[in-house]
């Protein structure tokens, strides 16, 4: 009941925020140099004024800015994000075609980094001052400090080129015509390298944070109380230390989850993963502003959604946070 009310409130605020983001993005794009019509015309090999005028008219680029903005906003209200200048397809169709691939990649990476990071962090905290604990921390530092694209390239060199275990790029084997389980397996194989690469960085952060947070929690008075009860160290670690240590992790995980749409450009490019990141990169190159605005909208919406989810999870995890405070 409480949650229903809270969610309604939050969604109401989200719509306002989203509206402001749309206006802001639109104005930002207006400031960008380059005329989309000129680029389109240039690619078509035409330079004649009449053709340019026609293009501008077709996309409404000849209208004053405020009219363009109004048209854009009223379009979004009906889930019409306009046409991609370049590909002559509705923006929504383009984004929806790429969305599953991106969510599959980033979602896998998210779950992977969170799960492995917490486990590694908890292990490192339990083995503090032991070689195994230090090893975990050293590895985490390496992954944290190494640039993502380099890790990706090296992974390709090692696992695809040298060992030949995993495919180097793409989402599935082109022309194999797999269906059902075979297709899932094929996609899974293609997923391993990009997902792991993407996960490593956040995994390193979760590892370091979980460890620090657990070491801090283990100093708390309630841990001494738990020991005085005669509880086994394992139970104390899990029930008393880890549970309290996870609270700051939730905040961080919410931040990472918000990056799921827009945060994989580099990985998608290196592994030729047909996702939103690459779509965005191409749109940028081609001054495909309508498409770009559409992608911005969806990534902003996702950030807001995950913010709300994070808040709810935090409330579930920590009874001290009451509604509205």
């Amino acid at each position: 009941m409480l949650y229903a009310r809270l969610i309604t409130m939050r969604l109401f605020k989200a719509v306002i925020v989203l509206f402001m983001i749309v206006i802001f993005n639109f104005c930002l794009i207006q400031l960008a140099p380059g005329d989309p019509a000129a680029i389109l015309a240039g690619e078509a090999g035409a330079t004649d004024e009449e053709f340019l005028r026609q293009l501008r008219e077709r996309f409404g680029l000849d209208q004053p800015v405020y009219v363009q903005l109004w048209r854009y906003i009223s379009g979004i209200a009906t889930l019409d994000f306009g046409y991609s200048y370049r590909q002559q397809v509705p923006v929504l169709d383009l984004i929806m075609a790429r969305m599953p691939a991106t969510l599959l990649l980033t979602g896998t990476a998210f779950v992977l980094s969170l799960a492995l990071g917490i486990v590694a962090g908890a292990m490192a905290a339990a083995r503090v001052k032991k070689p195994s604990g230090s090893l975990i921390m050293a590895l985490a530092l390496v992954f944290y400090a190494t640039p993502l694209f380099w890790v990706a390239l090296m992974a390709v060199v090692l696992f695809s080129v040298t060992l030949g275990w995993l495919p180097a790029y793409g989402m599935y084997t082109v022309g194999a015509g797999h269906t059902g389980l075979a297709l899932a397996l094929d996609v899974g194989k293609h997923l391993v390298l990009p997902a792991t690469t993407l996960a490593l960085f956040f995994m390193a952060i979760y590892t370091r944070m979980t460890r620090a947070s657990m070491l801090e929690a283990s100093q708390q008075d309630y841990v001494k109380t738990a020991r005085a009860k005669g509880l086994a160290p394992r139970v104390i670690q899990r029930r008393h230390i880890l549970r309290n240590a996870l609270l700051p992790i939730i905040t961080l995980a919410g931040l990472q989850a918000g990056q799921m749409v827009g945060g994989a450009i580099l990985t998608e490019t290196v592994f030729a993963w047909p996702g939103i990141g690459r779509l965005m990169y191409e749109a940028l190159q081609q001054r495909d502003y309508n498409l770009l605005l559409g992608i911005f909208f969806f990534s902003a919406a996702l950030v807001i959604v995950f913010n709300i989810i994070t808040d709810l999870v935090y409330r579930l995890a920590d009874p001290r946070i009451k509604e509205g405070s």
Binding site: M9, Y222, T225, A228, K229, G230, L231, R243, A317, P319
Partner: protein
């Protein structure tokens, strides 16, 4: 020094516990021997750093990292606890020896329901089914006197008061009916009336269950209240050991005598009264309501922290504000220094309405009222040298840097810490830090000092020294002092007048002597009766 009893449950012999290298001394406790007899309450008394809790931690196998018992033995039921493996020790903890701690606010896991935390004790020792555990937990909560146990069992710790949490801790420690209960300063963080209730509960349970209690405290008042025998410790050694009655009346060791004397007695100094009758601070009809911000769909909650509070403080006078937590006494202090803005009412400082000042004018006037805070550990910036910490106020008020620093040196001299200006706060003890806090307040030449529980966090002997210093400075600099405390006895020692507060209202005010010796209101009497050890006659100085 040894004292044997007929039937010891716990028997500590020649216990020596080594501190890690680099500590201020080699041994936390050295060659300590005492018994805890069946069915008695043994009080271990000492000031901070005396090593009084160390033996208890050794008994529980909960010594901090790097701290080890290097000699001696702790016999319990025919086995030496110091030789147990961690696993063997774990079987004893909670089952045969229970323990409760000082800070009820932090000693419970904030994310677990009370019932689950109690059930855990049974779970740890593999007893009963989950359902039976809940039933037992409920019975325990009832036994320790928590109101509405069916509700409390589903509550999270933050929903309970400090006293209730300490009751939960006791319920947990007693869950498996241990033979020994170790209580490490269990009432230090509580209000006097709550403290009295918890002490009574512990004594009551101890008698009903016939268990032994090892009670660690710094407060001889508490000793007088509950102890059968007492062991006084200093610098890791026992200085006196014997029957509580005997030690309290005829302390042999000078240190024990000093500790007992340091407790503010019932002998109230003659009222000195203010030298003048010019009012310095006139507080009239002060109101302050705290609202938790309501949302669009949520009603806001109101707490009336100050309700029509009026009083006058004369020049050079010391007025004590006494009350329990939640009485509004700290809010009053914060309003007087204008850290908080009252909703209604006036606060005039020699005729200027201090509560109406704003912005730059307020900033210019702020130096006239200064505050000394409760926690000397938290109120000094750990990365600022103390000389600078003191000089910052004057510098902000346009005193040249060199001059302000020179003044800081003089002030440190004045509070007995000469030549320490370039040290950092962590190099000082709690009492010394409070002296620095006083010097900091004095640096701005205030007319009025508000001391909010300024001695509550200190050991009794240090407390006495700080009170003396305050009194001395007050005379020398003709200051007025607003002394906020929960401790009526301390207030009676140094205040000219006392104001008793409850629920944001002034319950009683009058000369210290009258309020302390012939209180008019029932609540004041209640507060006085709750002071531990009051009806016992402590040793004559």
């Amino acid at each position: 020094m040894t004292s044997t009893t007929d039937d010891p449950v716990l028997s500590i012999r020649g216990l020596t516990i080594a501190l890690p290298k680099g500590a201020d001394r080699d041994f936390a406790v050295e060659d300590v021997s005492y018994d805890v007899a069946r069915g008695e309450i043994m009080c271990v008394v000492g000031e901070s750093g005396s090593g009084k809790s160390m033996a208890a931690n050794a008994i529980m196998g909960l010594l901090p990292k790097g701290v080890r018992a290097v000699a001696g033995e702790v016999m319990f039921d025919g086995q030496d606890l110091l030789t147990l493996t961690e696993k063997q020790h774990r079987k004893l903890r909670g089952l045969r020896i229970g323990m409760i701690f000082q800070e009820p606010m932090t000693a419970l896991n904030p994310l677990m329901r009370v019932g689950a935390q109690i059930s855990e004790v049974f779970e740890a020792h593999g007893q009963f089914t989950p359902r039976e555990r809940q039933e037992k937990a409920l019975a325990l909560l009832e036994e320790v006197g928590i109101p509405q146990p069916e509700k409390a069992i589903r509550a999270y710790p933050f929903q309970l008061s400090g006293g209730q949490r300490q009751r939960v801790m006791i319920a947990m420690a007693l869950a498996l009916a241990p033979e020994v209960l170790i209580a490490d300063e269990p009432t230090t963080a509580l209000d006097v009336t709550t403290q009295a209730q918890i002490l009574e509960l512990i004594r009551d349970l101890q008698q009903r269950r016939g268990m032994s209690v090892m009670f660690i405290t710094h407060d001889f008042g508490v000793v007088a209240e509950i102890a059968n025998r007492v062991c006084v410790m200093r610098h890791g050694r026992i200085v006196e050991l014997g029957e509580a009655e005997h030690v309290l009346k005829h302390p042999q060791d000078p240190y024990t005598r000093a500790l007992i004397e340091a407790i503010p007695s019932d002998v109230i100094p003659e009222a000195r009264g203010a030298e003048t009758d010019t009012p310095l601070l006139e507080v009239a009809h002060l109101d302050k309501v705290f609202r938790s911000r309501g949302g669009l769909f949520k009603p806001s909650r109101e707490v009336r922290a100050l309700d029509d509070v009026s009083f006058v403080l004369l020049k050079g006078e010391t007025v004590g504000i006494v009350g329990e937590s939640g009485s509004g006494k700290s809010t009053l202090g914060r309003c007087v220094v204008r850290l908080e803005r009252p909703d209604h009412g006036t606060l005039s400082l020699s005729g200027i309405d201090f509560s109406a000042l704003k912005g730059e004018t307020l900033r210019r006037q702020r130096h006239r009222v200064q505050m000394i805070f409760q926690d000397p550990y938290a109120s000094l910036n750990p990365r600022t040298r103390v000389g600078m910490a003191i000089a910052q106020g004057p510098i902000a008020n346009d005193v040249p840097r060199e001059k302000a620093l020179a003044q800081a040196d003089e002030l440190l001299e004045l509070v007995g810490l000469g030549g320490t200006a370039d040290r950092f706060p962590h190099e000082f003890s709690g009492g010394q830090r409070q002296r620095i806090g006083i010097a900091r307040a004095l640096a701005l030449n205030p007319e009025l000092i508000v001391a909010d529980e300024a001695v509550s966090a200190l050991d009794v002997s240090i407390q006495a020294q700080i009170l003396e210093l305050l009194e001395d400075l007050k005379q020398k600099l003709s200051l007025a002092l607003l002394f906020i405390t929960h401790d009526l006895r301390v207030a009676a020692q140094i205040c000219d007048r006392i104001i008793v507060m409850q629920h944001g209202r002034i319950v009683e005010q009058g000369p210290a002597r009258d309020v302390f010796l012939t209180p008019r209101e029932a609540y004041t009497r209640e507060l006085l009766e709750a002071i531990p050890g009051r009806e016992h006659e402590l040793a004559e100085a």
